[in-house]
Amino acid sequence: MKTNIIALLSGIIFGIGLSLSQMINPNKVLNFLDITGDRFDPSLIFVMVGALSVAMVSFKWIRKLSVPLFGQHFQLAKNTIIDKPLIIGGVIFGIGWGMTGYCPGPVVAGLGLFSLESVIVIAAICVGFFAYNALFERNH
């Protein structure tokens, strides 16, 4: 129960952060990625700086705990190998990001603006998930 309330609360804070930073605006994202264009807008680097300056400090302290405050154990990525799927996946993701201006957080938050594009892109993202699972996780 407590972890469910935290999930909702974390989502709300995240959604407000995406709105205030305007990462929820896909054209602003495209203007950030358009480094040679006359509309180039470096604002989103400041989103990363803002997020990382908080999270780098807090994560360093949280890592000293043996268990989280409400959960039984920390669930962090164990894989540390830089392999082909990571790089190829990153490149494929970047192509989709550059085509749309949306990554998963902002496109879900966009439903709160009643954005029709959000509905379309979320559906397409989920088709991508199912395609991945059909190809690589057959034994599930």
């Binding site: 935290i6 264009g37 790089i87 990001w97």
Partner: protein
């Protein structure tokens, strides 16, 4: 650069940092949106409710902000539909292959000093920049 908004970007980014902090501190989990969304379909049945609640929170947060400041973010219209559909598919497929997106790798992974996340974030950015260059300045598919 009349649309350059460093102060609100920094403040919004700090809120995102706060969100992933709260989530890791209390629940012990990485707030990676692609992994959370994927798990709505593929995680164990008893591991799904919190995922729906996090996603609902994302929507509610944006909705609440928009109630207070209705003209701050206006939904885009008339963007080419094929770009949205194909691009969305690639975002979903690529995020699974790379095991994360901007929130999981770009915020949480980098904050955790993960070399994998640094490589992934670099790939997202370089590939995204090249794609926008091709779409806007070579093929001129979108304004």
């Amino acid at each position: 650069m009349e649309n350059f908004t460093p102060i609100s970007a920094l403040a919004g980014g700090a809120l995102i940092g706060l969100s992933v902090t709260v989530f890791l501190l209390f629940n012990g989990r990485i707030a990676g949106v692609s992994g959370i969304l994927n798990g709505v379909f593929f995680a164990a049945k008893n591991d799904r409710l919190w995922r729906w609640l996090f996603l609902l929170g994302l929507v509610l947060g944006a909705w609440l902000f928009n109630m207070g400041l209705p003209d701050f973010n206006v939904p885009r219209q008339n963007y080419p539909l094929p770009l949205l559909i194909i691009g969305g598919f690639l975002v979903g497929f690529g995020a699974r292959l790379a095991n994360g997106c901007i929130s999981g790798h770009g915020v949480c992974g980098l904050a955790n000093l993960s070399a994998r996340s640094l490589v992934a974030t670099g790939a997202f950015m370089l590939s995204g920049m090249l794609t926008v260059y091709v779409i806007r300045h070579v093929l001129e598919l979108a304004a």
